[in-house]
C-alpha cells in the first residue's frame, strides 16, 4: 500500500479515507481528529470531534459548549477504532492536552504530530516518541539558526530586569493559550511568588488550566484603573496588546516578548521588543532532527513552517521527505507570521 491510501493532503486538511476523518481540518467536516487547542488546528463547527479531554475542555472554553455536535474524548495511549483505522493520541509536549495522533491500518503506522516540543514544560504532558512508518511533522523552526536556550535562563532575564527597574511595569507579550501559562509556571519555579497580572484575553484559558489541575499561583486580571499602580509587576498579555494604547497606561512599561522567533534579532526589532525572551513551544532544529530519527519513520511529510531546510536535511539522511505546503496552519501561537493578531472568539459560541 501507499502512504497516500491512509493519509491525503486536501484543501480541507489532512484526510484519512479508511477512517473517513480529517485531522485538524481548516473547514467544518463530519469527523475531525484534533491535535491541540490552538485556533489554527482546532476550529469550531465540526460535527464530531475526537481529541484529548484537555483539548476538548479548551475548545469549549474558547468557542462555547456547542463548538461541535458530539465529542469523543481520547485519553493518552488509549486505542480506539475509527472506521477501519486504529487511532490513538500521544503526548506532544506543545501545550496542555496537545497530542500526536497515531493511525494504524493494514499494518502501516502513521503519526501526525501536530505541533510539538521536547523541552520540559511543567504545564504539558512530556513528548512521547511514537515509532511509525510515516511521520508527519511541523517545521515552524526548521532552520539550523533556531536552537532554543533553556527556558529557565530566559525567565531569569525577566526577573533580573524587574529587579533592575522596580519603578517600571514589565509587559510580557505571550500567546494566550499555552505560552502564557507556561511562563506563569516558569516564574513560579524561579521563585516569583507575587501575583501575576494578566490581560483579560487570557483569563478564560488560564482558568481552564487551573480547573484541569495546573497550579499557577495567584493570577489577577488587569483592570483599566489598576494599570498605573503596577510598577514592579509582571503583566502577561497577548503580543498584539504591546502595541496598543492599553499598554501605555502602565508606569514606563518595558516591552518584553517570549517567542522562539526572537532568536533572530530583526524579528524582535520588528515588534519593538526591548527585552526578548527566547521561549518556544515548538521543537527547535535539533529537536526536529532528533525526533525524525527517533520515530524510525522512512517517510517524512512536513506540514508547515520552514519546510525546505528540513526536507533537504531528510534527503541527506536518506529519508524520503516531501513538503505538504498545507495552507492555514501557523496562524496562531508561533506560526509563520509573528505579528498575527489572535482571533477574537465570541464567548457564546461559534460564529456561523
Amino acid at each position: 500500500m501507499r502512504p497516500e491510501d491512509l493519509l491525503l493532503p486536501t484543501p480541507k486538511g489532512l484526510y484519512c479515507p479508511p477512517a473517513d476523518a480529517y485531522i485538524d481540518p481548516m473547514r467544518p467536516v463530519e469527523r475531525a481528529l484534533v491535535t491541540h487547542g490552538h485556533a489554527d488546528h482546532a476550529r469550531p463547527g465540526n460535527d464530531a470531534v475526537m481529541a484529548t479531554p484537555e483539548t476538548l475542555a479548551i475548545m469549549a472554553a474558547r468557542y462555547g459548549e456547542d463548538f461541535c455536535r458530539s465529542r469523543q474524548p481520547a485519553a493518552y495511549g488509549a486505542r480506539a477504532k475509527v472506521g477501519d483505522v486504529t487511532v490513538s493520541f500521544h503526548p506532544a509536549g506543545h501545550v496542555l492536552g496537545s497530542a500526536q495522533i497515531r493511525l494504524e491500518w493494514k499494518g502501516f503506522r502513521a503519526v501526525v504530530s501536530g505541533d510539538y516540543k521536547r523541552a520540559p514544560d511543567p504545564t504539558a504532558e512530556g513528548f512521547e516518541v511514537v515509532p511509525c512508518d510515516l511521520f508527519v511533522t511541523e517545521a515552524t523552526f526548521g532552520l539550523p539558526v533556531f536552537r532554543h536556550p533553556p527556558p529557565e535562563r530566559e525567565v531569569a532575564k525577566l526577573i533580573d530586569s524587574v529587579e533592575l527597574f522596580p519603578e517600571r511595569a514589565h509587559l510580557v507579550g505571550a500567546y494566550s493559550l499555552g505560552k502564557a501559562q507556561r511562563l506563569m509556571k516558569l516564574l513560579r519555579e524561579a521563585g516569583w511568588d507575587k501575583p501575576i497580572h494578566m490581560h483579560g484575553a487570557m483569563v478564560r484559558v488560564t482558568e481552564t488550566y487551573a480547573a484541569l489541575g495546573v497550579d499557577l499561583g495567584e493570577t489577577i486580571r488587569v483592570m483599566a484603573e489598576d494599570r498605573k499602580g503596577l510598577a514592579g509587576a509582571i503583566v502577561i498579555c497577548p503580543p498584539s496588546a504591546l502595541r496598543e494604547l492599553w499598554a501605555r497606561k502602565f508606569p514606563d512599561p518595558v516591552a518584553v516578548a517570549a517567542s522562539g522567533w526572537l532568536r533572530v534579532r530583526a524579528r524582535a526589532k520588528q515588534g519593538g521588543v526591548e527585552l526578548p525572551l527566547v521561549v518556544s513551544d515548538h521543537a527547535d532544529w535539533d529537536e526536529l532532527r532528533q525526533t525524525i530519527r527517533d520515530t524510525g519513520a522512512e517517510e517524512i511529510w512536513v506540514t508547515h513552517g520552514e519546510e525546505d531546510a528540513l526536507v533537504h536535511w531528510c534527503g541527506t539522511e536518506g529519508l524520503l521527505a516531501r513538503p505538504l505546503r498545507l495552507v492555514g496552519y501557523g496562524d496562531e501561537g508561533e506560526g509563520e507570521t509573528q505579528a498575527e493578531e489572535e482571533p477574537v472568539v465570541p464567548a457564546e459560541g461559534p460564529s456561523s
Binding site: L143, P144, V145, V264, A266, R267, K269, Q270, A339, E340
Partner: protein
Amino acid sequence: MNRFAFLLDRLSYEPRRNAKIRLMAEYFRETPDPERGFALAALTGALSFRHAKAGLIRGLIMERVDPQLFAMSYDYVGDLAETVALMWPGETRANRTPPLSEIVEGLATTAKLDLPKRLAGWLDALDETGRWALLKLITGSLRVGATARLTKTAVATLGDGIKPDDVELVWPGLEPPYEDLFAWVEGRGDKPFAEDPAPFRPPMLAHPLEDSNFRAFDPAEFVAEWKWDGIRVQASAGTGTDGKHVARLWSRSGENVSGAFPDLVEALTFDGAIDGELLILREGRVQTFNVLQQRLNRKSVTPKLLAEFPAHIRAYDLLFDGGEDLREQPFEERRKRLEAFIAREDNPRVDLSPLVGFEDWDGLATARADPASAGAGEDAAAVEGLMVKRRDSAYVVGRPKGLWFKWKHDPMTVDAVMMYAQRGHGRRSSFYSDYTFGVWTADADGERLVPVGKAYFGFTDEELAELDRFVRKNTTNRFGPVREVTHTAEQGLVLEIAFEGIARSARHKSGVAMRFPRVARIRWDKPTAEADRLESLEALIAQKEAAG
C-alpha cells in the same frame, strides 16, 4: 569581549537615544583602557582589518555546515554575522573569553594564513552574543543604532562641562585606543591635540512642508532655493597650527566621506565650511541621482571613475568664513557672505545654488511644479523640490521648528501587480518584503504583465505581515530565494507604487526605470485586470522629455 558584546546587544534593542547614551557612558566608565578605547573605535567605525573580511567568515562556516542549509538560513536571517553566530556548531568553551583588545590587535596583526584558525578559536570560546559581536566587527557595520556622533556624545558625558562638539574638535587627531582622550575627558590629562582645522559641525535640518500649514506665513519673510537630488555634505577646510592645510568632506551624520571623493577634497583649497549638495556635473550640467548612484556603487575609486563622474559641490550655506563663525547670523547675511565667498574662490568644483524668486505661495507652487521654466533649466531633472527658509534663521543644529522647510515634488503613482517576492535584509529580514511588480502590456502572445520595478518599503509592520502571508499563500513557483506569486488577470494583488522619477532604461526588459519606488497603498480591493499599462508609464516619460 563579553562586556562589549553585552553593550552591543543592549544597544541594538534600545530604541531611546538618551538611554543609548547612558548605556555607552556606563560602559566607558566601567571598562578599563585599552579595552574601552577599542570599543570606542568599533562604535565610531574607526576599525578596518585588511585580511579579516566577510569572505573569511563564509569560508569558516562552509567548512562546518551543509552549504545549502547555510544558504537557506542566511536567506532567512538576512545578516551574515548573525547567521554564522547562530549556526556556529558545538558548545565548546575555552577556559577564558578573549578580551576585545586581544581580538582587535589579533585581527590587525595576525598573518593572513593564520587568521582562519585564530578566528575559529575565538568563535569557539565565545557564546552566541559574543560571536555575533565579533563577526559584526569584522563585517564592518555594527548597526546597533549608535552613530559616531552619539558615541562621542556619550564620551563627553564622562567629563565635567565637556560638550560633544569639544570631542568632535579633537577627534581627527586621535587614534585607537584613545587613552589620551579618556584622560582629558576624565580630568586626568591635557587636552590631547591642537584643534582640528577641518572638523564636522552638525548640520541644520528642515521639516517637510505640508500643503496646509504654510499659507499663513508671510512669503516676504522667506527665501526659496532648489532642493538638489544629491548627497548633503559639509566641506570643511582650514590651516592647522603646523601650517598644513587640511580639507575634509563630511556626511550629514558626521561620517568622514573624504576617501570616496579625492577629486573633490583636493579642490577644497579654501579656509571655511560650506554646507551644500554633492552632485555629479558634466559640462556644467547637473546629472540625476541615477548617475551619482553609479559612482557610489563602485568599490574602488579609479582614475577612470573620477574622470567619468566628476564630483562637485553646489553650495547652500556658509558656516565658517576662514576662522569666523557665521552660524549665529541670519540666513540673509550668511547668503551674502556665501555669494562673496564663491565669487572670490572662483573654484571650478564649487558653485552657488541659485535662489528661486517668488512673489507669493502660488507663484512658488508654480515653480515647484515646473522647475525648468523657473530657472533650473536643463538641470531640472536633478531637482527634487524646494527648500524654503526664513530670511532671519540662524544656523541651528538639529531640526528646529519653524525655520527651514523642504517642499518635495509630489510623487508619481502607478497601480501595478505583485509578481515576485523575496526576503528582505536588516529590519525586514525573514519576511517576504521585496516585491517585484509589473504592469500590463500586449504582444503577439496577448496580454501579459511585464516587470517594471522592485519596491521594498512604504508599508507598516502590520501591512508587512499581511503581505508576507499573501506571498506564502499564493506562491506558484520558486526560483531559489525568489517566490513567484499568482499574477493573472483574475488573481493577484495590486500595489499602488509611488515613485520620484522615471526614465528610459536599456538595462530593464520593460525599457523603463523608476527612481525610489515604494508601496504607497495595498489595493486589496482592486482587480488585477484594472492595474496600469506600460503605455501609461511611457507616456509619463514622453511628457517629461517634452517638458525638459
